[in-house]
Structures are given as structure tokens and as C-alpha cells.
Amino acid sequence: MRVFGPKELQTDIIEKGLCSGCGGCVDICPYFRSHRGKTAMLFPCTLEKGSCYAFCPKAEVDLDELSMRFFGRTFDGSPLGHHLSIQISRAGGRVSSPNFQAGGTVSALMAFALMKGIVEAAVLTDREKLLPLPRLVKDPSEVLRCASSKYSAAPTLSAFNRAVREGIDRIGVVATPCQALALAQLRSNPLQKADFKDPAALVVGLFCTWSLDFRAFKDYLAGKMDPSIIRKVDIPPPPAEIMEIYDDQGKREIPLAEVRQLVLPSCSFCLDMTAEFSDLSVGVLEGRPDLNTLIIRTERGMEIVSQARKEGFLFTEDLPEENLKHLAWAAANKKKRALVKIKAEGLFNTGDGRRAVLRFSDEAAGAILAGEDGK
């Protein structure tokens, strides 16, 4: 992959609105910081190559290279990415929480990994009022506190970077697709450090179609309610077309069409709906609010799922064909939309030394563009 420096990160990504605020560049140095969902460069840095640029999921991402590194094959553009198996799941009898967004699979898996010492610490996303905040958790009981979807951008990876600096070498992460992609780049040691060792022991990816601009979302909600007393946010499956906000007074419904206006511009450049560069990916299961869809992508992911199931932390069964088809359709659509956008902006497989957002084979690109379209 081509690696540039902080100056290019600032001009190509932050200034052009391509930053998703994943936190990949935050807390590796004093220059990039995250504040209320946005990443800011505090001072100029003169280095020509930097981790900040190398980790960024919108800056010169080579999907073939990453796919080779993690899955031993080039990126083929298939809707759900490389996987070994797809299941439906929910937390087992050993864990439960009122905060679970759906089946509680993510919390169950991470609590289990911590308890078994598979990971020393888990990087999760907590919330302070409406603001999502990264948190490094070492006690399994704290995992449940961070349960539930946040829907707006969080610099979660900054906590991962902090954990690495603290010297923790088996870290679990719950990551959105952009965060998982940044993490995959971090894990490929792009600056070729001699003493590098992959510190990610378990990556649980989250399905994601978009993420909201926190500041815009808060301002929007402030016109309707007191954002400081919000307890939970949910988007029920189609065709509801609403966002549900739970606060002390109960549930409020907001038209999803209005909320979509607040989506980060960078999300329209994202091909990944199911966090393909993870060990396990988890999302909702349409039509069953108490269950999750679980994509198992790696051997170590498979191993953890089977252990967790054995010890009563997780319940799984096969995914019905109808659900799989619908999931693949949605994922393929996201891929196609984003690729069209990136190509239109002239940021795909650029030549002449120009910097790209994304690189992978024209063959896979062709497959994506020929795929599903509309319903």
C-alpha cells in the first residue's frame, strides 16, 4: 500500500469531509485528536509518512493486499465478504442485559473472551449522554454497560491505540466497518516496524449502513427534546422508516428520512456493510428483534463461537435462506452505491501518482457494478 503523511491526511480526508471519525489516527501522536465525533489536526506535522495516513480507512486502502493478508485471497467484491459460516445468534443464559440492542451477541462474545483470557482488554464504545465515547474495558461485567448501538461516529480506535501504547498485546475490539478496516491496516504493519506484533486478538465487527454526524444529530434532537436524558436509540427494521428515541418520558419516533440528512458524507464512500475485516461480524436479524445475524469469518472466530456456545454464553442456529438473500442484497447495494460514488469522484485506482481512496482489481469492481440494484 502507498503511505503518505499527516499533511495528505488533512487535505485529502479531513478537509474534504471523507473522515468518518473512526479514531484510527487519534492517540498515536499529539497531532490528531477527536472531539465530539470529529477528528481535528491540532498542529502541522512534517513527516512524509505517518501511521495516521497508513491506518486511515479512506486513504489509499488496498483491499487486495488486506484480503491476502487476512484471508489468503484477493478481494472479490462478494456482498458479504470472506466468511466461513453465517448463523443466527443471541446471548446465552450466562449473560443478559436490558441494554442489548438485539440478541446481545456482541456483548456475550466480548464478555466471554475477557473472562477466558482470550483478550486482556476490550475496546468498546460507551456513551456519555448522547456522545459515543471509546472505552477500554478489562472487567467482563463492564462489557454490558457499553451494550447498545450508538448510531453516530465514535473514535473507538483511539482507545485501541492507547491500549497498544500501554503495552497490552491481546486486545479485543468491537468495531464498525470503517473501524475494522482501519484496524486491518494497522494490523498489517504498514510502516514495517521491526518489533511489530498484531495486538488484536479478537475483532467483532458490527453491521453498519451509515453513521450520523454527532454534532448535527445532537443539534437536530435539541430542537425536539432534551438530548441529555436519552437512554437508547433504535431503528426498527423496514418498512417502519423511523428512528426510536427512548428517554425518561418513554419512546419518541422520528422520521428516518430526516435522520438520513445527518449521515456523515464519508459514509457514502464506504463499500462495507458487514465489517468484512473482522473475525466475527454481527448485526440484526430482520423480523426477529431478539436475535442477531452472526457472520463467522476466521478460524479463531469460529473457535471462540464454538467455545462460547459450549459454555452457555451464546446460542446459535442456521440462518434461514430468505434472510441471507436479503442481507446479501442490502450489502451488495451498499457496495455498488459507494463504488459508483468513489469512481465518480475520481478516487478509485487512480494513476499518475494521484492518491486514491480505494484500490482493488477491476475484475472485482466489475462484479460489484454488475450486481444487485434496487428492489
Binding site: 501522536c29 499529539p30 485528536r33 472531539h35 465530539r36 481535528a40 491540532l42 498542529f43 512534517t46
Partner: protein
């Protein structure tokens, strides 16, 4: 007096110009002195405050220059002699009252000293205060050496009492801050007993009320005032402070004043022109004594004006020459208008030399003007390069660090309006380029208040202002009141370093001590702001995280004017100077240096002079000689390589 004592007294003493002015005022028997600190004027009040107890005089650092002139005027109205001191910018502040005072006139002798700063060596501009004498219609004196600085100050009080108006005395940096030989005189044994007589008629200058104007009848006050000025001009015709050196009929006449008269003498001497060039050194520069000037103009056809900043003498002499043109004939004038003398910056002998060479067509072989270049090259090789920056341990660096970071994190292109003080440097790299407007004292707050109002037209940028603690009392309060009253959503940051630090730690109304070292009432600026209805937060700028966090919250929540007081004493303050709070060290094995992960944050961006980059080891280190031990750099180091440990007492 014994012969020995007399001899000792008559022996010249080495006095700084400002000391000479203070001595002149003491010899004149002043009983009141007031002022506001400002380089290069501050030593005058400081010297007088040290003599206050012995001489039984009252000395104060006033809240601002306008108040200072009002305090001095009151003493004059009661028949006492009073001195009022400020730098050139202070005259702007005082000018409103001064115009009134010039009309009402004075009783006891009152002298206003303005110390100008040509070249703006320690000022934000090089404003020339002399034109104020013309605007205010009061006499102006300019000492040409150190003896004159003392003698002229003393005489100015006599002149003031003679014409019943205050007298303006203008010094410059090279006069106020240089030292020279002065023979001192006696100090008066008696003091006057004050009485404000006000029961006489409205037009009685000695016993009536002191009022500046009769509405609609300007001739009642303005007329007599102009008569006073004519009397001053008559007196100036014979003044010993106007001197002439040179041949009776010079090829070229230099008309000059103040420190420029010394540069002129040196240039004429260096070029061996004393038989060809005459120097008319004017001590009484407004109103010019017309007969004296005309007499000298009659002796030559060519006139060179050597003066700094404004072409003040130049224009006033040209007016006299025009008025007398039928007698004097055509003259050739050289100076700022002709380009022979620079219109900007300080003068020096070299500049006068080059003007003389041009006008007199002299060869350049004897020209020693490369002296400056030589001096600069020697200085460059012998002294380490240091940019304009805050001192080690300066709280402003820490404050600007947090302000800068808060604005960048906020991400809405917020900006800070600033004004005058050490913190003016905030527009430079040492303040991380934080200040975006800089004008007069208190104007950062006023301008921010205005920006706050235009937010209603969909401007989303957060608006901040900084002002110093002394500046807060001096001129920021009315601007803050305006902002609070009109609900201007701004954040005013008071950089409270516990004194008027830039000018040498003079006290201000926020401190419990007066210029004379007496107990004073310390006024709580936070309570003032709260009483105005502003939200007030107080933080320690050395707590970088907390300061930045507070500022971000304030910017996000700005509904009306709010105040953040960042309180931490100046590193050079008497209580801190020479004492290290922390021993600061760099662990070279931990320092990331110029690698990804730091890239020399401390020596490339933070740039405290106490931090050095070791180019060989590629790590930072502490310059233990100049490190003030504030420990702030330990808080910015991303790798924890910089550590601080409480210093042993």
C-alpha cells in the same frame, strides 16, 4: 553647606533619562504624580514612588491614563504641582479629558510627560504624540539631552503656572532609557497647602469653578486658551532650550529636536561639516517661536529636518516659512517629504549621515554606515538565535496552547481578538498563531462583542477575546458591559498573571498594594463579571486538559458574554522569579524525538526556550539554566519522556 558637600552636589551624576525627568519633577516640588505603566515611561513613576515617603508626595498607578490625568488635574486645581506620565498610546486614551483640561486651564503647575517609542521597540505602534500638543493647543517641550530632561521638566512647571495651562513634555525611548550626565539641583524645602477655591465667579480663573466650556460661547474659554499659547510662544523666543551650533550662514541648516539632535551632532561631526552645516536644536517644539525660526531660516536656503515618526517640525516650520516667504524668499526643504529622512522607524547617526551625503553631494569613502551590518554579523555568530517568544515558565504559552487546541477541536474556525500586553505575541508561532485581531488596550473584547452581534447573520464561528488583568481594569470593562448588555455570545479570556507584568510588575486595581507599597483595596474581577451577569469560570492555565475542556464547553454553550479567568502568576513575578516549582527532566530512552508518534512536539511546536533539541542524540533535553520549572512541558509530551518532580526547597 560645606565646600565638600557642595562639590559633591555639583558633580555630574549618571542618570537615566526617566530618572532625570523624575528628579526635575521633584526639584519643581510636585506633590502628586500619577500614571499608567507603559514602556518606555514606567521608570518615572517607579522612581517617584521610591521617593514618595521621603518627599511626602502621593504617587499612584492609575487604572488608565485618562484617570491618571484627572487625578493629577485635581491636584493642580487645588494649587499643587502635579506630574502625569504615560507612553504615547496613553495620550490617546487621555486625550478626551485633556481637550477639556486645555480649555478649563490649570492652577498649580501640571506637566504631562509622554514617552514615545519611535521604531515601536516595545510598542504595538510608533505613534507620535507631538501632534496632540497642536490639537490640544498646549505648549510642547522636547529635551535634547539628559541634563535638559531634568531642567526642562522642572521649568515646565514654572511655564505651566505662568500660562495657567498644562505643559506637554515628550521624551523618546533613546532619551528615557539611555543614561547621561546630569548635574542635579536643590529639592524644595516647603510643600504647598492645597485648597480648591470654587466660590468665585464662573470666569474667575483663580477662585471660580473649573469648567471647560460654556456651551455655545467658545470664545469664553477657547479664546483665553489661545492667548495662553501666544504667551508661551513669546516665552519660547528666548528659551535657552533652543540652541544653535554652526556657522552664521550655513550651507545647510538642520532643524531637529529630542534624541535626533544627538544623531545630527554626531553625523555633522563624523563628516567634519561643522563649518558648513548648522544645527538648530529646538526644545520648545509647539508653538514654534516664529521670530527665532525665521531668523535662522534667513541665514540659509537649504533646510534639513531630522526628526522621528511624523514630519511635525517639518510641517510647522514650512508653515512659518510660507507665512514669511515675502521676506525670506524661496527655501529648499529636505526631510521626510523629500525622502531624505525615513518616514518610518527610529533614526540613527547613519541615516542622518546618508541624508547629508545626498544633499551635499559628499563622497561615500568616509561613510561608516556598514557599522550596523558588522554589528549584526558579529551578534549573529556570538549569540544564539532566538525568536520573539514568551519566557520560559510564561503562563501565556500554556494558555494559548489550550486556547488553540480548544478552537481546533471545536472545528468551527473560531478565533481570538487580542490587544496589548505580553500576550500580544499570541499572533506569532510562540502563541500558536492564535490571535487574529490586535488593536488598542481592551479592544479585543470590544471587537469580539461586535463579531458576536454579526453571528445573527448566520456566522457560526466561535468568538473569543483575550485581555490581561491590568488591561481588564484599564479598558476592557466597558467593552464587556456592552457585550453582556447586548447578549453578545463571546468568551472573554482574562490572562490574569497577577500584575502589570510586561512593564515590570506595577500593581493594578486587582492587587492589594499601591504604587507606594501601601495597602490598597484589591478588586475581584470575577465578582465584577458576575455582577455584570456574565458566566465566570476560573482555571489554572498550567492545567492544560482542564483549561481546554472548560473552553470547549464554554464555546459550545455560549449564549451570552462569558468570562474565563486563567490565573497563574508571571514567571518573572517577584514571588516566582528564580524559584523552580519542578525539576524537569527528559528521559532520552523514552523520547520519541522526530519519529512518527511525536515529531518533536516540544521543540518544534511548543517551543519553550527551556527545551532544546539535541541534533546528535535526536532527543529533546532541558536547558537547566533557563528552565523556569513550571512543568507544563511534561503535560504535552506524548510519550511521557518529560517528567517533573517537585523541586527541593
Amino acid at each position: 553647606m560645606t565646600a565638600g558637600a557642595k562639590k559633591r552636589k555639583e558633580a555630574p551624576r549618571l542618570l537615566m533619562g526617566n530618572e532625570a525627568i523624575a528628579r526635575g519633577a521633584l526639584e519643581a516640588g510636585i506633590q502628586i504624580a500619577s500614571g499608567y505603566p507603559g514602556t518606555p515611561s514606567s521608570e518615572i513613576i517607579e522612581n517617584l514612588s521610591r521617593s514618595a515617603a521621603e518627599r511626602n508626595i502621593y504617587v499612584e498607578w492609575s487604572t488608565n491614563e485618562k484617570v491618571a490625568t484627572e487625578v493629577a488635574a485635581a491636584a493642580s486645581f487645588a494649587g499643587l504641582r502635579a506630574l502625569c506620565v504615560m507612553k504615547q498610546n496613553g495620550v490617546n486614551v487621555a486625550s478626551d479629558f485633556l481637550l477639556h483640561l486645555a480649555h478649563s486651564g490649570t492652577r498649580g503647575g501640571m506637566v504631562l510627560v509622554s514617552c514615545d517609542d519611535p521604531g515601536a521597540l516595545s510598542s504595538v505602534n510608533e505613534g507620535d504624540s507631538r501632534p496632540f500638543a497642536r490639537i490640544l493647543e498646549v505648549p510642547l517641550l522636547e529635551p535634547g539631552d539628559f541634563q535638559e530632561a531634568k531642567d526642562m521638566t522642572k521649568w515646565a512647571f514654572e511655564l505651566s503656572e505662568e500660562i495657567r495651562n498644562f505643559v506637554f513634555l515628550r521624551s523618546v525611548t533613546r532619551m528615557s532609557h539611555a543614561s547621561g550626565s546630569v548635574i542635579i539641583g536643590d529639592l524644595p524645602a516647603e510643600t504647598r497647602r492645597p485648597a480648591f477655591r470654587h466660590k468665585g465667579s464662573l470666569l474667575d480663573p483663580d477662585n471660580g469653578p473649573v469648567i471647560s466650556l460654556f456651551p455655545g460661547i467658545p470664545e469664553l474659554k477657547h479664546g483665553p486658551q489661545q492667548e495662553k499659547l501666544r504667551r508661551a510662544a513669546d516665552i519660547f523666543e528666548k528659551s535657552p532650550f533652543n540652541t544653535y551650533q554652526g556657522p552664521e550662514k550655513p550651507e545647510l541648516l538642520i532643524v531637529t529636536s529630542s534624541a535626533c539632535s544627538l544623531y545630527s551632532r554626531e553625523a555633522v561631526h563624523l563628516l567634519g561639516l561643522k563649518d558648513r552645516v548648522g544645527i538648530l536644536k529646538m526644545g520648545t517644539t509647539w508653538p514654534l517661536p516664529p521670530e527665532l525660526v525665521k531668523r535662522h531660516l534667513a541665514g540659509t536656503d537649504r533646510i534639513l529636518f531630522v526628526e522621528e515618526v511624523m514630519p511635525f517640525l517639518e510641517e510647522n516650520v514650512k508653515i512659518l516659512a510660507a507665512e514669511a516667504a515675502t521676506d525670506l524668499g524661496i527655501k529648499y526643504f529636505y526631510g521626510k517629504k523629500s525622502g531624505h529622512i525615513p518616514s518610518v522607524g527610529e533614526l540613527n547617526p547613519d541615516l542622518v549621515l546618508s541624508a547629508l551625503r545626498k544633499i551635499l553631494n559628499l563622497p561615500s569613502e568616509k561613510d561608516p554606515s556598514d557599522f550596523l551590518k558588522k554589528a549584526e554579523s558579529i551578534a549573529a555568530s556570538a549569540a544564539p538565535h532566538r525568536e520573539l517568544t514568551f519566557c520560559p515558565g510564561c503562563p501565556h504559552r500554556a494558555s494559548y496552547w489550550s486556547i488553540h487546541n480548544a478552537i481546533e477541536l471545536d472545528g468551527r474556525e473560531g478565533f481570538v481578538c487580542g490587544d496589548i500586553g505580553c500576550y500580544t505575541l499570541g499572533f506569532l508561532p510562540c502563541g500558536f498563531g492564535t490571535l487574529k485581531t490586535i488593536h488598542s488596550m481592551g479592544s479585543g473584547t470590544g471587537i469580539a462583542g461586535g463579531f458576536g452581534q454579526i453571528r445573527r447573520f448566520a456566522m457560526n464561528q466561535p468568538i473569543l477575546a483575550v485581555c490581561g488583568d491590568s488591561t481588564f481594569f484599564h479598558a476592557a470593562i466597558p467593552a464587556l458591559i456592552n457585550a453582556v448588555h447586548h447578549r453578545s455570545p463571546i468568551t472573554v479570556i482574562v490572562l490574569d498573571n497577577r500584575g502589570t507584568a510586561m512593564t515590570g510588575f506595577q500593581p493594578h486595581p486587582g492587587l492589594a498594594v499601591s504604587a507606594m507599597g501601601e495597602q490598597a483595596v484589591d478588586i475581584d474581577m470575577a465578582e465584577i463579571c458576575r455582577a455584570l451577569g456574565a458566566r465566570v469560570e476560573i482555571r489554572d492555565p498550567f492545567d492544560l486538559e482542564e483549561t481546554q475542556r472548560t473552553l470547549n464547553l464554554m464555546m459550545e454553550e455560549a449564549g451570552g458574554a462569558q468570562v474565563l479567568i486563567l490565573r497563574q502568576a508571571c514567571g518573572l513575578s517577584p514571588e516566582k522569579k528564580g524559584k523552580k516549582l519542578f525539576e524537569v527532566k527528559v528521559d532520552e530512552s523514552v523520547c520519541v524525538g522526530e519519529n512518527c508518534g511525536c515529531n518533536r512536539l516540544c521543540t518544534r511546536i511548543f517551543r519553550c526556550p527551556g527545551l532544546l533539541w539535541d541534533g546528535q542524540k535526536k532527543t529533546a533535553r532541558i536547558d537547566e539554566v533557563i528552565c523556569a520549572g513550571c512543568g507544563v512541558c511534561a503535560g504535552i509530551c506524548p510519550s511521557g519522556a518529560i517528567t517533573k518532580r517537585e523541586a527541593q526547597a
